[in-house]
């Protein structure tokens, strides 16, 4: 049986390779020049000087800097939504029986929304915010290779969010006929195939849309980095952030279309009686394979660019160049490849063949090496350096520290015997939150502070920024250590309540740890309130930055392209214009 399937798979693979070769040999296909590229794209550089004003400008913009800002605002809104969802869940978990949400259904809906929102609507877009704004500046390109596709890719996201969140809005309107999806972010079958709620279909469609958007963005970045580099940038001096975005884009190109196909199959199963993932059809395990073949690369899609940001910013405040620039590049590429060979470490307890489990364990252990190499490079960069503890630097250091814990817990989980004990407990939740909150969000904050002067022309309030860091780091440690411990005690994840038999886990300790985690979550929220306040107020009233080198990078020879561009903007801006708003790329001035 397995042998036949294997033979069929190989046959199919050979067939597809054949098709690909055939297609690539068609002359006329090669000669086809897409209309959107080339001249049309460059026309934009003149268009930017005549941007319409007000709302129309933001709706029609194809300027990479404007689109970057749009991505940033979008991601922030999603961050607020996902954050509020999780705060409600944490309150619900303060005591075993507390029921503030009026039923486990609401909890499940919030859990699903939190996961999907944070990964697809906050994580990917916040990275796209930085890459859109800064990659063209860093590689010396006029704009992205396909500015209009760039615009389309962004504008697919708001409808995606509306669809993903639709269940919440439609629930009261339809009297509960359409509700929030309760599938969790992994959408495991048969549960997700059998829930009749149309809210699930809407969510799947929204996810599909966000995948299309990510794929369009990825193609755009690959083409931009390959073809639009200024002549003095080549593979040996391409900046490290661009390298990570290039790798990320390649991962997106291989991972997201697969998610899209799997989602369509799930939609067919739900609505057209197909049996791809039915127990006596293709089997629910097929879903897990397809999902995690996308899902594990996805976690690296989310973490590689933040690693690039930190590799870029951390040396600036260490007073020396990144230690082992090429080590970091090669390990980035290695992570990219290896991340496609580890997916079944999420399925160790699903009853798959033990031989296959062993293989996935082997590759999962191998992927820890390039990750560790990066950590040592960051530490070596700081070693004996002239460290300046600015807010961006604090977030970078926090990032490295959090990665040590997040990464090592991951390696433990990749060991089959450990995994069988800890799978589906809070330990897993703790593991990936050290990474997604402790790294991805932290790198985002660091980069926002670092580039705040370029984007807004203002300086943020340094005291508040440092408070933001310390409160967030303490909150992260409190919340996610508590979760690791909860996992050790055997607390299963994804439950709205924990009134269980004392034989499963010691209830008193579990309750205390849940309360600690809830307190930690409120600490994190406090930090983020400070952040939003700081950025809003500084944008409106902060001191105007007139120095083209606000971070004193010239002193250590680290002045780089994006600040040089900033300097040019400062020079060309009229004396009497209050904000420089780089060719109008600040937010619409308060008119």
């Amino acid at each position: 049986m397995a042998g036949e399937q294997l033979a069929l798979t190989v046959l199919m693979g050979v067939f597809l390779v054949g098709v690909a070769t055939l297609v690539s040999r068609m002359e006329n296909l090669r000669a086809y020049t897409p209309l959107v590229s080339g001249d049309a794209g460059y026309g934009d550089s003149t268009a930017t000087s005549h941007k319409p004003s007000g709302l129309i400008r933001w709706l029609t913009t194809v300027d990479h800097k404007d689109i970057g800002i749009l991505y940033g605002i979008y991601a922030t809104i999603a961050f607020v939504w996902g954050g509020l969802a999780v705060m409600l869940m944490r309150v619900e978990l303060t005591t075993p029986a507390l029921n503030v949400l009026g039923g486990t259904g609401t909890y499940n809906g919030l859990l699903t929304s939190h996961g999907i929102t944070m990964l697809f609507l906050f994580g990917t877009p916040i990275i796209a915010a930085f890459s859109n704004y800064f990659i063209p500046l860093l590689i010396g390109a006029d704009d992205m290779a396909f500015p209009r596709i760039n615009g389309i890719a962004f504008w697919l996201l708001p409808p995606a969010a509306l669809l993903i969140w639709a269940g919440f809005f439609l629930d009261p309107l339809t009297g509960g006929a359409v509700g929030a999806a309760e599938t969790s972010w992994t959408m495991y079958t048969p549960l997700s195939a059998e829930q009749a709620n149309p809210g699930v279909d809407l969510m799947l469609l929204g996810l599909h849309l966000s995948g299309i958007s990510a794929t369009m963005g990825a193609i755009n970045f690959i083409v931009t980095i390959f073809t639009e580099r200024s002549p003095d940038v080549n593979w040996a001096n391409l900046d490290i952030f661009s390298w990570t975005i290039l790798t990320q884009s390649a991962l997106i190109l291989f991972a997201f279309p697969l998610l899209g196909s799997a989602l369509i199959m799930l939609l067919l199963d739900r609505n057209f009686q197909t049996a791809f993932f039915a127990v006596d059809g293709g089997s629910p395990i097929l879903w897990q394979h397809l999902f995690w073949f996308f899902g594990h690369p996805e976690v690296y899609i989310l973490v590689l660019p933040p690693m690039g940001l930190v590799s870029w910013i951390l040396p600036k405040f260490s007073g020396r160049k990144l230690f082992g620039y090429k080590f970091v590049i090669y390990s980035t590429l290695a992570i990219g490849v290896l991340s496609f060979g580890v997916w079944a470490h999420h399925m160790f307890s699903s009853g798959i063949d033990p031989r296959i489990r062993a293989s996935f364990m082997a590759v999962s252990l191998a992927i820890a090496i390039p990750s560790a190499v990066k950590t040592f490079n960051w530490i070596a960069t700081m070693w004996n350096g002239n460290i300046r503890l600015t807010a961006p630097m604090l977030f970078c250091i926090g990032f490295v520290a959090n990665f040590v814990i997040g990464g090592i817990t991951g390696v433990f989980l990749a060991a089959i015997p450990v995994n069988l004990v800890l799978h589906d407990t809070y330990y897993v939740v703790g593991h990936f939150h050290w990474i997604v909150m402790g790294m991805i969000a932290f790198a985002g904050f660091g980069a926002i502070y670092y580039w705040f002067p370029i984007v807004t022309g203002k300086m943020y309030q340094k005291r508040l920024a440092k408070m933001h860091f310390w409160i967030s780091e303490i909150g992260v440690a409190v919340t996610f250590f508590a979760m690791l411990l909860l996992g050790y005690l055997g607390m299963p994840r994804r439950y709205a309540t924990y009134e269980f038999n004392g034989l499963i886990a010691p209830l008193a300790q579990v309750t205390t740890l849940h309360q600690v985690a809830t307190i930690g979550a409120f600490i994190i929220m406090l930090g983020q309130l400070i952040w939003v306040w700081n950025l809003t107020q500084s944008y409106l009233e902060g001191p105007v930055v007139e120095d083209e080198d606000p971070w004193n990078l010239k002193e250590t020879g680290q002045y780089s392209r994006e600040f040089e561009w900033f300097g040019e903007q400062l020079d060309t801006t009229d004396e009497d214009t209050p904000t420089l708003a780089a060719d109008g790329s600040g937010e619409p001035s308060d008119d």
Partner: protein, 134 residues
């Protein structure tokens, strides 16, 4: 050509990917030699192909990226003036707006190994000393 492309420096850089490759090769060996789970050709084939394919993919990517980067480096060394990076030296803002940076050296910002190795190391040492002094 290839001996020059993959010189000692480049090979040293590639060590970083050699470690996971060696790990996977080790596991391939283990899986071939030691099989506690009984014979099942299809599953054994899958077991090996997962590690072998990942190994192959990493090997190929490392080879090509190593080659591309090392060629690019050679280019940089041949005509450094064309590959300048903005530098601290560009203190004069009027200079910063001119698109070419002929007088400056390349590469300090991103690469840890600019062609002027000696100069870079000296700069590093200077940093270290100043840090020690504090």
């Amino acid at each position: 050509m290839s001996s020059r492309t993959f010189d000692r420096e480049t090979l040293l850089d590639l060590i970083v990917n050699a470690i996971p490759l060696v790990m996977m090769a080790f596991f391939i060996g283990v899986f071939v030699l030691y099989n506690p789970f009984g014979t099942d050709l299809a599953n054994q084939a899958i077991q090996l192909s997962i590690v072998v394919i990942t190994f192959g993919a990493l090997f190929v990517l490392t080879y090509f990226s190593g080659r591309a980067i090392s060629k690019a480096e050679a280019e940089l060394e041949e005509n450094p003036e064309e590959f300048a990076e903005p530098q601290a030296a560009a203190a004069d803002p009027s200079e910063a707006t001119t698109p070419d940076y002929d007088e400056e050296e390349f590469g300090e910002v991103t690469s840890d190994e600019p062609p002027e190795d000696a100069a870079a190391i000296a700069a590093d040492d200077a940093d270290d000393e100043s840090a020690d002094d504090e």
